[in-house]
């Protein structure tokens, strides 16, 4: 196991280097003078020179990338061009809000998606199966920002059950509900579909038949014999949906004015705050890579048969 983790982590290094390279190329290799662009319409000549020297824009691209990498390695992602905040510090400040939202939406996804998938598999080809699968298809097809707007409109604006916007510090825990549902719907739908197909696969296996044949209680057969084995592919999907979650949080946080990394990123995009955009992109990609690594390791622990 130890060698596997080491092996897998070492494999991550070239990919992470590639991630920094792509981010660098996207935000630094753009033609035009980045120093001038960052400083806006009427920059002061000395400030331009200062920034240019500080960031090394006058040096060759390879040297610039090396400088960027060295700075990124110690967590220096620059400062916001809007209000001069330190990028990494600001991102870390916002991280708890996003993490909280990610956890509650995953809980929502699991709490609804797993039972729905199991139920659909058990009651295969009944109206329950069809309607839940149709609902999950809708859940996958709806753009997250539209879902967020619909929820805000119906449950916050019309019914007034929840606050339209705001964070838990002022609006209380009710403010957590709509953003979590909006963000959790897509992973929930994916989870339900996968649980269903995985359960159907497992329920055909001999050991399930055997368990039934020896007169086991049906609930025990389903949960202990079938679901325990159907869970592994579902677990992979769970980590996979984190991608949807990360980006989805951008839109959800923006619509519900939830003070996380997503809101930070969207505001940076709207104000063309390049260092901040770059910082959030890099941060999201790193989190994504690390979560995938942890998921692979977790998968290995769950199912020692797999060789990855």
């Amino acid at each position: 196991m130890g060698t596997y983790i080491l092996h897998r982590s070492l494999h991550m290094i070239p990919v992470l280097i590639g991630v920094t390279l792509l981010t660098f190329l996207l935000f630094h290799a753009i033609p035009g003078d980045p120093a001038r662009m960052m400083l806006g319409m009427r920059p002061n000549v000395t400030t331009i020179e200062m920034l240019r020297e500080q960031w090394g824009y006058d040096k060759p691209l390879v040297v610039q990338y090396w400088m960027f990498l060295k700075r990124a390695a110690v967590g220096d992602l620059g400062r916001s061009t809007n209000d001069n905040r330190v990028v990494l510090e600001t991102i870390l400040e916002r991280a708890p809000a996003t993490a909280l939202l990610a956890v509650t939406s995953m809980l929502f996804a699991v709490a609804i998606g797993l039972p729905a998938g199991i139920l659909a598999a058990v009651r295969r080809n009944t109206w329950l199966d069809f309607s839940s699968m149709l609902a999950t298809l809708a859940g996958i097809s709806i753009p997250i920002f539209f879902l967020a707007i619909l929820l805000a409109w119906i449950f916050a604006y019309e019914l007034r059950w929840f606050p339209v916007t705001g964070y838990i510090d002022q609006r209380g825990w009710m403010a957590l509900v709509l953003p979590s549902v909006a963000l959790g719907t897509r992973p929930m739908a994916i989870l339900a579909r996968l649980t269903r197909s995985s359960m159907l696969e497992v329920m055909r296996q001999d050991y399930v038949l055997t368990a039934r044949a020896k007169g086991q209680n049906e609930a025990v057969v389903l949960l202990k014999h079938a679901f325990r084995n159907a869970f592994n592919p579902v677990f992979t999907a769970l980590s996979g949906s984190l991608a949807a979650l990360l980006v989805g949080s951008f839109f959800v946080e923006f619509i519900f004015v939830w003070p996380g990394i997503g809101l930070l990123a969207i505001q940076a995009i709207q104000t063309r705050d390049l260092p901040m955009i770059q910082g959030t992109v890099l941060f999201a990609a790193f989190i994504f890579v690390i979560v995938n690594l942890l998921a692979d390791i977790g998968y290995r622990i769950l199912d020692p048969r797999v060789k990855l």
Partner: protein, 299 residues
């Protein structure tokens, strides 16, 4: 029963997708209004035409004249949803075209030559794969904004330059498995060049999986375009785009002056994406059941 149902789903997808294409293509004949104004087209004027004050026609609820209501500028929402569909379709077609142009050759090279070529291509795929899809599209669009003036061309490129990864992955996997077949071995034994073997013998086998991937990629592209224009990065007004209409309309929902401006374009996106997903999934199950494993968990 299950097979029949799957085909029914693919058929539903096909119908929804054709409906979308048909409505978008026939937009000028389906509505008497212009997408950028509330005036009837010249052909519709019969002399009794009077200048209608745009303010009076602002934010009208759905009615017989304006099936889906009007927006703040008195423009017909139905008309704008139809024309917005054209933008979504353009973005889908062109971005997936770009994805094919990059993804198919790279996937073929990686799967055919293996070794160092494969290592480099796989590295590229893994790097692109490390970014959440929509986030990379956003970053691409911003990065391109200093090079390319036209917002719509930028959307084409941003989506295409990210979507090639899925195409390349599938093509590589397919090539790897097809390569082992005897007829490829035979073609090579005849001394045919690698290019000839790839184009004449490998490529025909790739059509089915690539078609499925592109259909699913098309759905992602429709969402990506809407998301970009929702954030104000996509096509610019007065050209209608579903994402931007939702953004514009949200203010009227919160002000209580009109839900229809945002809700109908949202439903349009949902139906379009649902249709494409159904079609892609259905085709996959129908044409090539093995693909399921390869595509699983990729989205």
């Amino acid at each position: 029963m299950a097979v029949f149902l799957k085909q029914k789903m693919a058929l539903t997808g096909l119908i929804l997708t054709s409906l979308l294409v048909g409505l978008a293509a026939a937009a000028p004949w389906l509505t008497p209004y212009r997408f950028d104004g509330n005036l009837p087209l010249p052909a519709e004027m019969d002399g009794t035409y009077e200048d209608i004050n745009a303010l009076e026609r602002s934010l009208l609820p759905p009615s017989a004249d304006n099936w889906l209501g009007t927006d703040k500028f008195g423009r017909d929402v139905f008309t704008r949803v139809l024309y917005g569909g054209r933008i979504s379709l353009f973005v889908g077609f062109i971005s997936q075209g770009i994805a094919l142009l990059i993804g198919v050759p790279l996937g073929c090279l990686a799967g055919y030559f293996r070794g160092k070529t494969d290592a480099v291509v796989m590295w590229l795929i893994n790097v692109f794969w490390s970014f959440p899809y929509l986030l990379l599209v956003l970053a691409m669009d911003i990065a391109l904004s200093h090079m390319i003036r036209s917002p719509i061309v930028r959307v084409f490129l941003a989506v295409g330059l990210v979507s090639w990864v899925l195409v390349a992955r599938i093509v590589r996997g397919q090539v790897l498995s097809i390569k082992e077949n005897a007829y490829i071995e035979a073609a090579r034994a005849f001394g045919f060049s690698s290019a000839r073997v790839m184009i004449r013998h490998l490529a025909p086998n790739l059509i089915t999986p690539v078609f499925v991937v592109v259909t699913l990629g098309f759905a992602e592209a429709v969402i990506a375009e809407a998301a970009l224009s929702y954030l104000g990065l996509g096509v610019q007004p007065p050209i209608p785009s579903w994402g931007r209409m939702i953004n514009d309309g949200y203010g009227y929902i919160l002000a209580g002056t009109g839900w229809w401006v945002a809700v109908f374009p949202g439903i349009a996106i949902m139906v379009a994406v649902l249709g494409l997903n159904l079609l892609g999934d259905g085709l996959r199950d129908y044409l090539d059941p093995h693909l399921k494993d390869e595509l699983e968990g990729t989205r």
